[in-house]
Subunit: 355 residues, 4 copies
């Protein structure tokens, strides 16, 4: 059997790392998960049971793993803070790289990955914006692309996590870059997708509150934020992000065009079951992001693999990931300063009086 499989390693075996590892192990027929790394003993123990018996070599050290013989690609699902560094090392080791979002919580950090990737144009380097691989978002995009709704003009999108009373989000906020960088980054990326990868941001403004987790203030973060992003060319995105959705993960998007509108997940549901009971009719919704986007992650793994194996163009530009972080950081800044932030047509910050 002469079928070529992509030899890939997984960096990081936390919540998302485990999932990526298993997707490449079991649900990506053209890939072969050959290695995984984590410095964490608990994660390693998990890997000894769930990965090692299937031929996956385990490493405690990322750098060591990069030397794994025959390795062709790496998926990076470690802590956000090391995304950029590990991605650059992977690139320098001549590996294709699929890096979890965001590349970095700073624009500079994100740009450094783009710079490294530019030097190795034969490599596939992708930031894992999972929604781009979701069947519903793709269907909406394709419908828009055929002109079904005319010119897309206004974009509404929200990423709302289930309320977690444990305080998890407070600790998490220390390194997440803030809610607009951590959550809204998905919506921003979608806006850039639907409005066109080369859309130029004109202004951002944001507001937020700490309705349930006042401790977030110490990390300059909020549990509910709204923002408006204006683009040159006359398009507007407005965003909502929240950490206090009672019912579960509530991510929805609307694309309003001059001749129609598309919605994605405006009526969330876990599955096709409705429950009729004395209090009414009820449906459940996914508790977490993965419950909504599991298949998108699997699609992502498979497409990334195909692009590597067949030297195909990736479905999105890496530079878009920098744009998304830039907009997310500006929203977070506006949230904290209370001021609107303006950009000129080449993306430089300007004062309103200069306009």
């Amino acid at each position: 059997m002469a079928v070529q499989k992509l030899k890939i390693a997984c960096a990081g075996l936390g919540r998302m790392g485990k999932r990526h590892a298993l997707h490449f192990l079991n649900r990506t027929p053209r890939a072969e998960l050959v290695a995984a790394s984590t410095p964490d003993e608990v994660e390693l123990a998990w890997a000894r049971t769930n990965l090692e018996p299937f031929g996956v070599r385990l490493y405690k050290d990322y750098d060591e793993m990069l030397k794994h013989e025959g390795l062709e690609a790496v998926v990076i699902a470690s802590a956000t803070i090391v995304h950029a560094e590990q991605a650059i090392k992977g690139i320098e080791a001549n590996l294709h790289v699929l890096c979890e979002k965001p590349l970095s919580v700073t624009v500079e950090g994100s740009q450094s990955v783009v710079d490294a990737a530019k030097k190795k144009p034969h490599l596939k380097v992708m930031c894992g914006f999972s929604r781009r691989f979701d069947d519903s978002y793709r269907d909406a995009y394709n419908k828009m692309d055929t002109g079904l709704i005319g010119r897309p003009s206004v974009f509404r999108s929200q990423t709302c996590d289930k309320l977690d009373a444990s305080g998890f989000f407070v600790a998490y906020a220390e390194f997440s870059g803030g809610i607009f960088v951590d959550c809204s980054i998905h919506d921003i990326d979608l806006a850039l997708w639907f409005f066109g990868q080369d859309s130029h941001v004109k202004s951002v403004v944001a507001s937020g509150i700490t309705a349930v987790q006042p401790e977030l203030a110490k990390h300059k973060d909020v549990d509910n934020g709204v923002g408006i992003v204006e683009f040159y060319g006359g398009q507007i995105a407005y965003l909502f992000c929240s950490r206090m959705m009672a019912a579960g993960q509530d991510d929805a998007t609307e694309i309003i065009g001059t001749e129609g509108k598309l919605t994605v997940n405006a009526q969330p549901s876990s599955n096709l079951v409705n429950i009729y009971e004395p209090t009414g009719i009820r449906r459940e919704i996914p508790a977490h992001y993965y419950g909504r986007f599991e298949q998108a992650f699997v699609n992502e793994a498979n497409e990334f693999t195909s692009c590597c194996l067949e030297d195909l163009k990736l479905p999105m530009k890496l530079t878009g990931a920098v744009q998304a972080v830039k907009i997310g950081c500006a929203l977070q800044e506006s949230l904290n300063s209370g001021k609107k932030i303006y950009f000129d047509e080449v993306g430089r910050r300007i004062e309103k009086s200069q306009l």
Copy 2:
């Protein structure tokens, strides 16, 4: 002011009687409720507060009320058992008659009203199948009528009441004619409407269970029934009726045509509110029939009034009400005998061996 109003009286002031009286009093601009009758003291007391101050003359005796000076029409909302008798008396008193469904729980009783009406062709005599006046059913009918779904071929409809643990339905079953005559009559009438008023029944068969109210057996009734009605011409209606819906009134209809399908109320809801809470997303549904069809009853009152005042054709034939009872009684009989019942093309009962 020379505007003519229809002088109408209301017979019976029970649950539906009160509603009809108030509809004609307050929500039917072209009608004037001039009288109401009930032998019941409690109902009379209600009427003294709610009708009399607005100029409605109260009667204990129906026959007396028929002599009310200038009376032009009567709406009959008394106990089912006296529907036919009161309707005939109204007709004989030269009054237009709007009679609550069913005309009678027997075919003969129903036919006697038709016979009386035939002798007074100038009068408007209508059986109040409220769903015919519901905006959604009308919209569905009109869409079908324009050919949107091709030829209507299969018809599914259900009338499901909210579970009432009080035992009300057991007592009620003694005089209701049974669940197929009381509930499914609406669905049967809809089938006759959508398939055409002159559709001829070919066979009926029904089954049922007493899932929550075994005492219904003493009245030869059930709390859940299903039935199939075949029509000559190749059309089929299948029906479900229930007295144990936990969530509330759950009445739904599907009309399946050769080129499309229409549904009415397949996703019941009290209003436009959705509640997101830790157990999921919930909407409430009406607890009772009137919660679903209130506006239809008001429309009915207004249209009946217009037909009387302007001598317009009623929206449905009175003979249809006999057909509906005939089919409902046959379903109830089949439910009890366990046998399928056959009719020839002119509506006579036949044995299968004769076919």
Copy 3:
């Protein structure tokens, strides 16, 4: 018959005026429409056919109508530009006043009505924010009020009109006060209702585009706008208004609380019909505002009437209508200046540097 009815007149017989007149004539049992006024000959002709035969006296002159003998109340549905003037005259004539929204397109104009009303505390003076009388909004409010969703924290609401290619909205924009004053005023009023009538605005910021009607620019207006309104006390409303919804009137609201979320009309629909056809499953939605809120207007007429007759407290304060205009105007200003606008806790404009 000693039942008292409220003698009311209707000022203006344009699109909404006709509706108000007919609601008070036919669908408000405790009111008697005794007069109507309009300077417009076409509207008068309509009234001669539709109102005069039912005892409604017609006037060409509003001031004359105010002298109609026995008149107790007036509903003002004339052009927005004369709302305030007519409301004040009505108050001065000792009439209860129900004035279509907005009281005026300026804060000062709106305040002048409040000032006039203060001098006649025995009169009922109400600005007709129809959604306050909508069953679904009321149900949502009541559910929130019982604590079902915890503390309301984020409020999303949109008013989106069906695309009208005729250019109507361009001409209309000259006097409408702009899209935030004309459309979003409803959403702003809802925010004040759900967050509490005494919420104090902290800042507003808005953006907009002319996606289909570039001529709106000459009236400093847009066809799509988004805005964020911050309130002191840690609550945020974010709004969307549009004049280019392809499918029809698309008004939706979400109230996000610390323990749950309520949505109103997130899945718009004209009625309960679904159409299954080769292209999928379709439902229709109302083409216009009235299609969505007809019953709310009728409720409004009936409740206003009851409040007048029984000297009951109105369901909302008149001062709220000034607040709503103030916020709407500030959003419209922000839209045009591109700047965020700040208020101190007593509602005075401040510069950000002062905060």
Copy 4:
């Protein structure tokens, strides 16, 4: 790497055969597709491109394939007419067998597989009722099983295929066993699942029409059928099957219990996209059965594999597949005879007069 994989072969490479083969090849980590067979040259050509390069040995002859070294299991997706024969041969060759539904279009044929399986109790022999592996059906079942809806009492289920004007269904009807055996078999199996595998059928009755394909009559089949199945113990299933759904695959189920109701797919949808356009709001639905149940087939492959590898109990009894065919055949007979069919408590046909 010592991980054991189940060596499985696929018999038949038609529409479903290709899918099963690919599921076992790519989406069933614990299985290894080692062989496939088909006598059809076109199918073989497909297999040479899509299976052979991945190490799958191809056979023209089923019997030859059964001798494939190390083979442990076979999935049978050939023409229905050879299901039973091939299943029995597989069993006799000491292979685990996953056989596409139905085992046979006759009760006797189906029973012969059960008889063969009984002789080899160490083998896993399963009829592939895919809906048993669907997440939504499982969720509904589990909710029912925990008592959420009380005692399940009435069961409504429909299998409705998209209208296919090509005449495919006419040719297909020659060997399909008829619409109740081919389509409703799924619904019958679901009824047996939800009511309990050991439910005993008491009576069946069915009606049908040929609304769009009159040629079906020559195969004693219809394009729309409805049926009622009574069970001993007081439970009723009523069914609808159709070959003329305009919008696409429309399979829905309701389980009505004494304390609640569960619906599965009552609001079908391809994905989470809604399209707002001038004609209203639209969603698409799957065109075919596989569009609705793809993931269920994958789950089926994985669970069957696990049961074989770990000697686990299969999720359903093989005898249920005989019951389902028995009920399906009886419904088809009733459809054609126009008569109701009765069974005694041990499953023997009786005349009504004997009851």
